[in-house]
């Protein structure tokens, strides 16, 4: 997953502009190379944003803001750390970061999977709407703020105000939680949750025992939850 084959199309960002790279990746939806290797990312912004094809992409190094934003279908592996807004509004596909991710990773994401091998900073999964996120390290404050759907798995610790004003996202944390946000409470595991967590850990390639995690979610006191609409989540 996310590992391009040896025949990958190589784009060197010390020679090629971001606009040219992204145009070529967008054009690949209509045919052309499906495996890509992007070198010398140098912390540049908006690398591989707006892809709409099942491409396999490796990025060799640290990336800047809004990397892989709005991704559809592509599997992307970042061999480094990511700046603000990684995989913002991701629709589907997989994004794996070997290092850390800065603020607002996978913000507003609607689908797909985002894996951070290191730590994610503040506001991880803010307003997430269906994306699944697995963070092997810690997440910063205000993670899963107003989170609506999907799951956030944190193998380390969570910062202040976790899940503040949360709707129906499932939160799983193995370490400590500095403080739960408004209307976010600890909840029991049901069979479904154990299966979901087990599946996400396996999909992310994380060796962790689901029994070590605690689950958090909405107390449903802050928003107008109606059981008749449960299917919508």
């Amino acid at each position: 997953m996310g590992t391009a084959e040896q025949t990958a199309e190589v784009v060197d960002l010390s020679e090629t502009s971001i606009r040219e790279l992204n145009q070529r990746l967008h054009d690949a939806a209509d045919g052309g190379p499906q495996a890509w290797r992007i070198t010398h990312p140098g912390g540049l912004h908006a690398i591989a944003a707006g892809i709409n094809a099942p491409l396999e992409i490796d990025i060799d190094g640290h990336v800047g803001y809004y990397c892989v934003g709005m991704n559809k279908e592509a599997n992307v592996r970042i061999h480094g750390s990511a700046g603000v807004g990684l995989a913002e509004n991701i629709m589907s596909g997989t994004v794996i970061v070997d290092g850390d991710a800065s603020q607002s990773a996978a913000a507003t994401g609607r689908g797909g999977l985002v894996v951070v091998r290191g730590n994610a900073a503040a506001r991880c999964g803010i307003s997430m709407k269906g994306v699944n996120i697995v963070v092997e390290g810690n997440v910063g404050h205000l993670s899963a703020f107003m989170a609506q759907k999907g799951a956030l798995v944190v193998c380390g610790d969570a910062g202040e105000a976790l899940g503040d004003s949360i709707y129906e996202t499932h939160l799983y944390v193995r370490g400590s939680v500095a403080e739960l946000g408004a209307d976010c409470i600890e909840k029991d595991f049901k069979e479904f949750h154990t299966a979901e967590l087990t599946g996400l850990l396996a999909e992310a390639g994380v060796d962790a025992d689901p029994a070590d995690f605690k689950r958090y979610g909405s107390a449903r006191q802050l928003y107008n939850f109606n059981i008749d609409n449960a299917d919508a989540y």
Binding site: G64, Y65, G99, S102, A121, G140, H141
Partner: protein, 301 residues
Amino acid sequence: MCGIAGLFSKSSSFEERLGDHLSDMLIQMADRGPDSAGVAFYRNPAPSGSSKLTLFSPEEGYDWDPIASELSSAFGGSNGPEIRASHAVIVVQTDADDAGRWVIDNHPELRLMSAGQTIEIYKEMGDPREFVERFGLRELSATHALGHTRMATESIVTTEHSHPFSTGLDLCLVHNGSLCNHNRLREQLRREGITIQTDNDSEVAAAYLTWKMREGASLTEALESGLDDLDGFFTFAVGTADGFAVLRDPIACKPAVMSESDDWVAMASEYRAIAVLPGAEDARVWEPDPGQVYIWEKEKV
């Protein structure tokens, strides 16, 4: 939005090229702050018993030789002026406080940018890329340096409103963000006898640190109490004679990234300013936690 870059050398060979590398970092941050740019270089310590002033004249082609002679007559000898664009550095045989006061009293047409043993501050309006070339920053060696590119929000664009702001002898501050309570705080600090020269919010943060340290606080203590007293968004970088400190506001409104290699420690608003440093690809990179003071100093690295 503004851009910050800080660079600290861990080897003497890197010191010789520090100006070149900080210039590269500053240019990467030009998009974040095209209004003006400024740097603080820590270099060429003044001999014991002497001190170093950086002066700014808004007058093009200002003749610096008379003031250098006057300083020699007043204090018995001076070196310089070493002129860089609109600025000049003069080494004076007296302590920095006396020398600085003498300039303010006798040459009101000039602006004292910095005073101390090692600090030199240069700042000017306009594109950061042109600033780097105009001031010949690439040729400067230094133990460490801070840089700032400004996109003005809270006050007008002039040389005086540019960063870094000097916070005391060999001390300076650069700021990305905005403060909400700077007007009231400015009045309070003026009542405490702290000199504040502009209506800029960041200068109030610099003045606040000056006041706290005058009252006996360490730099770390002064920054930590700033978390309670400075209302607003900030990533601060503070230069000292020995190194630099970094602090982000507790909710992390403004970005910061840090990195360390065998040769250097760097901080910047964005990683792309660090990516241009030699060995960046193998350096450790991390995001500083909000509300936590980070300090690098010569003897501790």
